[in-house]
């Protein structure tokens, strides 16, 4: 008898039983208004999470102990792999990643159940029932279709090892972060569905769901950025985002999540967007499920895809159930969803936030269309086409620039109603910035409309945002008397007083910085390719690169047979800057899948990005070098964005603001 296999498989079966019990007993408890039953349902959800934790632990132990009696361990691990990569192997195959996915969902939902006990007691039973159903839907295939605990008939002496693409430190953090982000969309979905089922669709569910949506945003955004960073440093094609179908499915749920965070503010303040916000919560979760289906079905092929398997159709069915169920639920409760609300003027912040929601929806629709179109073309016409970067640059690019402008406009507009005179005053400076920056860039020779538009919109948003901090800090200093608080302290105080608002502004600032970096590194990338012998040099941008030598190094671990590493010295204007070592890595078990080793030299102004494409027997090597402007600012902007998201958590329930809401002006 196989201990790991038996323990893991029984943990999964027990988890399925526990989650079905949670579903049943919570439903019964809601119907009979039986608090004891509801409490039992909550504990069953905790038990599901605990049992899945046990399953994760069992699989991790099997990987660490090189237990090749499990088929999964053989398929993704080998004896010579470093411990770190054995951990990464946990989510590197189909069944393992599905287990991680389900475990993360279980943790989210157990957290929701615990949170709602106090935050939303009247909906906790409903939420638990939804949680039970969702978990059962994911545990089903894990138990019956793709168990990571299948035992091999014959135990092989060693495993195949990790796929070469995944032999990278980033694999330790990028996939779990992304999966955590995708799965966290289940929390606002479950809370929204519970509110709908319970029939109370006022703002109380919004208050309960907001921290979860914010967490979802932060984790998803981090996961996507880490994905870009992995693509940049490992895949070796000079860029960080290729609009690959799977990248698209990772970013899609982020869009309704951003919409949701802005929509929540409108609903809390003005009572609008009740139906819309619920729809966005459902859309975020549906798109996350679409993503898992996308990765697992082999429908849309991609570097990220797992092999085709029978659970593809299952997830398609699940997706249909989630979407149709959400629509039916919304239709059923729609009479309760239209209620009194305030909407005084179109010239108000609420309009800005609503337009932001619409723009995000448009972006999501365009990306979804681009992702699915190749499938449609092949199904209907039998012709394979590729929808790649140029399409998205042309369609999504302008929409994202518009989103930056709407963000700037929304920040400038006051809640409720903007008086014409004060609006003119507020918009004057940003309009000057907009026109002025366009003029400056044009005069300086920036003629690419994509670059010009993107940077101008980003500069406008950045200046508006910085001005908000300045105004806020000035007000704080005035209130306390000059000299009491220094400027940095005054700004810090803003975050303490209204973290949600000023944290959000920091997210805007990060987005503006990222936008400039994306535009610059896309429109002004320089690419050079040469084939040269050792001792020869070539120019890339301001740099002179000299190919010194190429040498082989035997691999030591992780299935690496050998590395071929070129040493290249980098000079700028005759001054030696250092050495770069691009290369190629060969794997024992994957002879036809060598991986590039990318060398990157970053400065604040640009990255010098170098890789080696091949060489002949005379060691004449073909190099590709990119000069990517401002890439470091992409990561910096992402850091600001994530920091802003984290700071926004610090928010505490505000004093009730009735008519005074408008008096806060910019608030």
């Amino acid at each position: 008898m196989n201990l790991a296999g038996a323990l893991g498989a029984s943990a999964l079966v027990a988890a399925l039983a526990a989650t079905l019990f949670a579903l049943g007993v919570s439903t019964w408890g809601v119907r009979r208004r039986h608090p004891g039953a509801i409490a039992a349902g909550r504990r069953a959800l905790y038990a599901t999470a605990a049992l899945l934790t046990l399953a994760m632990g069992t699989l991790a132990a099997a990987l660490l102990r090189d237990d090749f009696s499990l088929l999964y361990v053989t398929s993704v691990s080998s004896r010579d792999m470093e411990t770190a990569f054995k951990w990464a192997a946990l989510w590197s195959g189909q069944p393992g990643s599905l287990l991680l996915w389900t475990w993360l969902i279980a943790l989210s939902l157990a957290g929701v159940a615990r949170h709602l006990q106090r935050a939303l007691p009247w909906a906790r039973g409903h939420a638990q029932a939804v949680a039970g159903a969702v978990l059962a839907a994911f545990l089903g295939p894990l138990v019956f279709l793709a168990s990571p605990f299948e035992v091999a008939a014959v135990t092989p002496p060693d495993g195949v090892g990790l796929n070469p693409l995944l032999v990278d430190r980033a694999m330790l953090i990028h996939p779990p972060m992304l999966l955590a982000g995708l799965t966290s969309t289940v929390a606002p979905f479950a809370i929204g569905a519970a509110a709908l089922l319970a029939g109370h669709v006022d703002s109380s569910w919004v208050r309960a769901a907001r921290p979860w949506a914010l967490a979802s945003f932060v984790v998803l955004a981090t996961g996507n950025v880490l994905g870009g960073w992995w693509a940049y440093t490992v895949l070796g094609w000079g860029g960080y985002w290729a609009w690959d179908p799977v990248e698209n499915s990772a970013i899609l749920p982020l869009l309704p999540t951003i919409a949701l965070l802005h929509g929540f503010a409108v609903q809390e303040r003005r009572g609008m967007l009740r139906l819309w916000n619920l729809a966005m919560a459902a859309a975020a979760f549906s798109l996350a499920v679409f993503g898992t289906f996308n990765v697992r079905s082999g429908l849309v092929s991609s570097v990220h895809s797992f092999a085709q398997s029978e659970i593809g159709p299952y997830f398609l069915g699940l997706l249909a159930v989630v979407i149709l169920g959400s629509v039916a639920l919304l239709a059923w409760r729609s009479p309760r969803l239209s209620g009194p609300h305030d909407f005084e003027s179109l010239l108000s912040r609420e309009t800005g936030l609503i337009v932001n929601n619409y723009l995000l929806t448009a972006i999501a629709l365009v990306i979804l269309g681009g992702t699915l179109f190749p499938v449609a073309s092949e199904l209907i016409r039998g012709v394979r086409v590729t929808v790649s970067e140029p399409f998205y640059d042309q369609t999504v690019g302008p929409l994202l620039a518009a989103l930056l402008l709407v963000a700037a406009g929304g920040v400038l507009l006051p809640w409720r109603r903007g008086a014409a005179r004060s609006l003119r005053r507020r918009f004057a400076a940003p309009a000057v910035v907009l026109a002025g920056s366009a003029a400056v860039l044009w005069t300086a020779g920036v003629r690419d409309p994509f670059a010009l538009g993107g940077i101008v919109c980003a500069a406008t948003l950045a200046s508006v945002t910085l001005r908000e901090y300045w105004l806020g800090a000035r007000g704080a200093r005035r209130a306390r008397g000059r000299g009491v608080a220094s400027w940095p302290l005054a700004v810090a105080a803003l975050f303490r007083r209204d973290p949600r608002r000023y944290g959000g502004y920091l997210v805007h600032l990060g987005a503006a910085v990222m936008a400039v970096a994306v535009v610059a590194s896309t429109a002004y990338q320089q690419q050079v390719r040469v084939a040269i012998a050792p001792g020869e040099s070539f120019e890339a941008g301001r740099y002179t690169l000299t190919y010194e030598r190429l040498e082989g190094r035997p691999g030591t671990a992780n299935g690496v047979e050998s590395d071929a590493v070129a040493t290249v010295t980098v000079r700028e204007g005759g001054r030696l800057l250092g050495e770069m070592q691009p290369g190629r890595r060969f794997f024992t078990n994957f002879p036809d899948q060598p991986m590039g080793i990318v060398a990157v030299r970053s400065t604040w102004r640009e990255d010098l990005y170098l890789f080696i494409q091949g060489w002949d027997e005379d060691l004449v090597a073909e190099f590709q070098a990119f000069v990517n402007p401002l890439v470091i600012w992409l990561w910096t902007g992402a850091g600001l964005l994530v920091a802003g998201g984290l700071l926004a958590f610090g928010w505490q329930r505000p004093p009730p603001r009735g008519a005074a809401a408008g008096a806060a002006g910019h608030a």
Partner: protein, 161 residues
Amino acid sequence: MQPDTPDAPVTERSRADRARRAWGPVLLLAALLLLAAELAGGPPPAAAQEVDAEQQLAIERQLLCPQCVNERLDQCARAICEDMRAIIREQLAAGTPPDQIIFFFRARYGDRVLAQIPREGFNLLLFGWVAGSLALVALGGGLALRRMRRSARRHAGAGEA
């Protein structure tokens, strides 16, 4: 009044404040100039013998690997892509215009090797989808805003009456 009310009466603004306020735009302008100089200064004019290499890269960037997904020809390490790059080099040397080189690969491997999806025939549906999405969101959004505004006015009216 809230301590951070941004728009204090004009009379309260001291000169020092105004001077400080002027710093923002100046800094922004300086940053933009620096950025523009960085970007527009750009690549030095390529040496004469490199024109071919650049032209070749420009063609490769318009093509995709026929065996991978979404992998540009200039990046792909597969044998088939090396062959394709060699063909492009030969054709360029023979003086074939870039359009014809791209057409050759399209005829050989099908539309999926084109980085820019051709805007014709069935593919127009994709662009129709984009236009439709934008129109739907713009029209639907506009109508929804109007409806919300109206129903809010009605409620307000009912409240006052």
